[in-house]
């Protein structure tokens, strides 16, 4: 667990602004595992993700990533896809993908070739020179994913990357993401509020309760890989959705409950 690209989150509390967003969060992620974080809106799942990526300091507790405590951004270990995508509007799709390499000092010719290569893999070779404003929402999403994939980082953190899309496009892009990740052995933490998406994509699902969020349940997805859309019609998938709903509604119905009540 400590070696490889594993992540250990131990008793972590994180402030978002001056509000306690997550409290005593504990879970482990094995190298190469795909784990989704779900929970009610505002439960601190994005905050926990940012803390794992070193973008927010933890208030207490410890996050260990590839055997080292997280104290700040680790561009060589971690690549992000943000909820609002964070594409630079003044850079073309290709130059958005190149920026991490530019920051790392990779020569122009090499970063250009690698960026075009990855844009090709996400099906955007023909629009590489367009600016984000000239691309559809789904295309922008794929640029953001290409920017994360072009990095050699073994850990991928995705913060509701498909939240702005309709359910059909979302599951379609999710499937494509799985295809892209298939041979890369990346460790993925995926924040979402879509139960179907979490079930379809993940090895395990970490369910958080209402703010200040804490882990209420960790569910292993009982479905084989590779995942195909037909799995979403299987009884296992429906049982899983059922269980997720039960866990989520139980927790939010009991606010303030014994485990999720406000801290003084």
């Amino acid at each position: 667990m400590e070696a490889g690209a594993g992540i250990a989150v131990r008793d972590v509390s994180v402030l978002y602004g001056s509000v306690l967003a997550a409290r005593d969060v504990t879970f482990d992620i094995a190298p190469g595992e795909f784990v989704s974080l779900i929970g009610p809106s505002g439960c601190g799942k994005s905050t926990v993700l940012r803390a794992i990526g070193g973008l927010l300091p933890t208030q207490s507790g410890e996050i260990v990533l590839r055997g080292r405590p997280v104290v700040g951004p680790m561009p060589r270990d971690v690549a992000f896809v943000f909820q609002d995508l964070a594409l630079y509007p003044w850079r073309s799709a290709r130059r958005n993908v190149e920026i991490a390499m530019e920051l790392a000092g990779v020569p122009r010719a090499i970063r250009r070739r690698r960026a075009l290569d990855v844009l090709g893999q996400v099906g955007l070779a023909d629009v590489a020179e367009r600016f984000p404003g000239q691309l559809s929402g789904g295309m922008q999403q794929r640029v953001a994913i290409a920017r994360a994939l072009v990095s050699e980082a073994p850990v991928l953190l995705l913060d509701e990357p498909f939240a702005a899309l309709d359910e059909q496009t979302r599951l379609d892009l999710g499937g494509q993401l799985l295809g892209l990740l298939a041979d890369r052995g990346k460790t993925v933490v995926f924040v979402t509020h879509s139960l179907a998406e979490a079930g379809y994509l993940s090895d395990r699902i970490v369910v958080m309760g209402p703010r200040p969020g804490t882990v209420v349940e960790v569910i292993t997805v009982p479905m084989p890989r590779p995942r195909v859309p037909e799995l979403m019609r299987s009884p296992e998938f429906h049982d899983l959705q059922d269980r997720l709903l039960t866990v989520l509604f139980q927790r939010s119905a009991h606010v303030p409950g014994p485990k999720t009540g406000p801290t003084p």
Partner: protein
Amino acid sequence: MTLSARRAVVYVGIVAVVGLVWVVLTATSAVAPIILPAPGGVLRSLARMAADPPAVLGPVWRTFEETAAAFGVATAVAIPLGTVIGASPLLHRAFEPVLATLAVLPLVILYPVLAASMGLGMPSKIALGAVYAFFPVVISTCRAASQVDAGLVAAARSMGAGRLAVAEHVVLPAIASRIAPGLRVGLGLALVTVIAGEFIAGLGGVGYQLAAASQRLDSPTLFAWVVVAIALTVVVNVAFGFPTAVLEKGVNR
């Protein structure tokens, strides 16, 4: 008819109507020739000026130089200053109201002081033009710097950008892509105030020629210089359009 063809028709139509009104007003002596000279007289003045290009290009070049210097000085001070003020929430809250208030003062009241201390030559025109160009640029820079998307900064940090790299790759391009309108207003004001400065008290330039013709009661020449001033404005604006397009889109390297 295509849109651009229709647009051309509208332009030609407006010019024709204005020209027609002009001809009618002067031909019927409804307006005294000293106030509004006949188009023919203005054309003859233009032709006379065209026969002696240095007499036209000299003043035009002088005005252009003063405007460019004024705009250059203004942006060289306003962009760094606006960036620093806008990037700090404290400075932004403290100084944005001050800048907004100063910007609407009739700063031309400074001109007697500038002319007295710098003389009637080019420096006083450059100073007045720079004062006017400064405010739109500093205010738009300030606003752009204060509204840099925090998500873009976080993304850059996650990709390994330190403070300097964030400034270079996020803050400056974000500002550059949004200050073009402020720059355009600043440039326009610089040109206007330079010409006004020459007109009020100058030794040369387009404004000086306007004042001279006006004082000689030579209305056809006065109007001919108005035409020259308009042509200069159009050229300056078009020339400014190219770098602005680059600013807004960035260079696609």
